[in-house]
Amino acid sequence: MSVALSPVPTSAPPTQARLRWELVVNLVRKDLKVKYQGSVLGFAWSLANPLLVLVVYTFVFGYVLRSTIPRFGLYLLSGLLIWNFLSLSVTSATTSILANAGLVKKVPMPHVALPMASVGFAGVQVALQFVVLIVVALGIQHHLGGVDVLLLVPAVVVALTLTVGLALLTSALNVRYRDTQHMVEISMFAWFFLNPIVYSVTLIQTHMIAKGWGHLYWMYYLNPMAGVVVSFQRAIYGTVVVPGAPAHVAVAASPGHVAIAAVPAKLPVQVLASTSNLFYLEVLGIGFAVALVVLALGATTFRRLSADFAEDL
């Protein structure tokens, strides 16, 4: 028996389909309660992961591979935390509809609240991690402040747009294609290394110049997170060029630095992309355009698939 009837266009009943922020807040509160219930350290656990990453990466990149970046731990955290926000949000949003099958199948509700709650949940955790970062930065008498800090605002907007778009896309796709969650996991790992988090973005710059692709440098920022990460580093880490010390001069003579020989010998280690804040706004602009496309794609996909969630689960 095959299908001869073509479905007549239907109008969805106007149930409680509109997204209410209070519901999202309640779902986040629920997740936080459930997650930390019965654990002695509670919230401290959400700090455990970035601390572990900090220790391991500082050891690997700072001591074993001898990164030329001074204060490597601080540099790492400035870019890592916003990445954590995206990665945590998207990974948990991917399974959010599945994990709440009981709700989706039995309660009329705006489904979009579920991936949004995942983003909110990740937001709370990462916000806590940021508090720690700020405390550490002040503790080691790192100078925070200045106009650069304002870069955080557009950077957060770009990161949020991209995160919400991806969360909607992957959560909706995963209901029908469970491959999505595995693909997301793998892609997140690969994507992490595309961003200048454990290495300096100058590596990309010098490499591209060396290959004669200098004019294509902007394409690197088609990955919106690259712009977000460098802006965060500019805002928090701050130091663009570290004045040379003898040890650094030796490193600066390595092949990778040949192309930027134009940099005065007095300033051998360039850590961040640029001293001009306009540069950061430009790359964020590129990223924002891409993020908006992702958001539009995510929202359309979610809207199209969500009517059948209860059936597909």
Binding site: V8, A12, P14, Q16, K30, G102, P108, Y177
Partner: protein, 394 residues
């Protein structure tokens, strides 16, 4: 009554389910399925036209599998109709399953806030009605215990209490009320009558003809996804009795000859018969049956349900699933896999019914020899029952 505004309109609503026990959930499967082509479909609802006016209390009755729950889900916006249109105006509170919208890990208190917010209330609005909800539910101090430790009766009391206190315009209730004790049922009925006097619209599914006659101004009988009667509750009950035809079961059994030899719960991993299980466990229900097929009959299907075994509560029926077993004569075993047992501790007798697929005539009924005991689970897991089905010749 005809002057009051229309709040629910369903026009030519149909709902089709694909009969794959498992839909393609990976790209690979999707590709393979596409190659195979042919897809069997099952229409749970066909050409439903229903208009409900404000203030009406409509009872929805019909045999198991006639599409009552599907209709409620379509009307509450959970399922999208395959064709036709549905229009509902006003705030809808629906109570479709025990503990739907509850998180086992959270306390009753937290769940009240979560559930009310799912139903569209703000925190402040919820705080204003919180004490009433707790009082009506009769949970007392238990409200600060995690709901995973609640009995099924407590679940339904809390769920109903939240649903009626959020001041919905339309209340949609599936058969959940049967679980509460008599005192609570009385309270629910009072509350429903209170709703009626306030001009609220109520739509509910019940297997109790007397309850429908007592409460409803109108009853709709569904049969194989089609409205077969719409009118006076008394007449509806009569019509329903005709459909179910207790005496006809006896007659047809002699001719068609299907017998259920045993119904046993089996541990999904080891394949051994087990009478105790934990919530969240996978479980297989095996039904051994013989079809004698003395005259050509249509396809037969087997339905499996859990019936509560507690003495102090009226029987509640949880449908687990059904499988088509064909009509060839012989002995066969139907294996129904429940992915996760619901988080409802207690004793349940397994009920298996062999029915004629075309018209729902019951050919044979059997219960498990012992009740299956679902133990309280300290870990607590979300509620979800659903099953994959397999039939083998033996």
């Amino acid at each position: 009554m005809s002057q009051s505004p229309v709040v629910i309109t369903a026009t030519a609503v149909g709902k089709r389910f694909s009969t794959h026990h498992r839909k393609a959930t990976s790209l690979k499967e999707r590709v393979i399925r596409r190659e195979q082509g042919a897809r069997e479909d099952f229409w749970a609802l066909r050409g439903i036209d229903l208009t409900v006016h404000q203030g009406q209390t409509v009872g929805l009755v019909g045999p198991n599998g006639s599409g009552k729950s599907t209709l409620l889900k379509v009307l509450s916006g959970i399922l999208r109709p395959t064709n036709g249109t549905v229009a509902v105006s006003g705030r809808v509170a629906s109570l479709l399953e025990l503990g739907a919208g509850f998180d086992g890990e959270l306390t009753g208190r937290d769940n009240i806030f979560l559930n009310a917010s799912l139903l569209g209330l703000s925190r402040r609005e919820t705080e204003a009605i919180f004490d009433d909800i707790v009082e009506f539910s009769g949970l007392g101090e238990f409200v600060d215990n995690p709901v995973k430790h609640y009995s099924s009766g407590m679940y339904v009391r809390l769920g109903f209490s939240v649903a009626v206190h959020v001041n919905p315009d339309i209340l949609i209730i599936d058969e959940v009320l049967a679980v509460g004790d008599e005192a609570f049922q009385r309270k629910c009925i009072d509350r429903i009558e209170d709703f009626q006097t306030h001009g609220k619209t109520i739509l509910f599914v019940s297997h109790s003809a007397s309850l429908v006659e007592q409460l409803c101004s109108r009853a709709v009988v569904l049969e194989h996804g089609v409205v077969s009667f719409d009118g006076e509750p008394e007449l509806a009950s009569e019509h329903l009795r005709d459909i179910l035809g207790v005496d006809r079961v006896q007659r047809s059994r002699k001719v068609l000859g299907a017998t259920v030899e045993e119904v046993v719960p089996v541990h999904a991993g080891t394949g051994e018969v087990t009478w105790t299980a934990m919530p969240g466990d996978p479980l297989r229900v095996e039904v051994l049956l013989t079809v004698t097929g003395e005259r050509p009959v249509g396809e037969l299907s087997v339905r499996v349900a859990f019936i509560t075994d507690e003495e102090d509560s009226p029987a509640a029926l949880i449908e687990v699933g059904a499988g088509v077993v064909g009509n060839a004569a012989g002995k066969r075993r139907l294996c129904l896999d429940v992915e996760h047992l619901p988080e409802l501790a207690g004793g349940y007798t397994l009920l298996a019914q062999v029915v004629e697929h075309s018209d729902g005539t019951v050919l044979a009924t059997a219960r498990s020899a012992e009740p299956l005991r679902i133990q309280p689970d300290p870990a607590g897991r979300p509620i979800a029952v659903m099953a994959g089905v397999r039939v083998e010749d033996v």
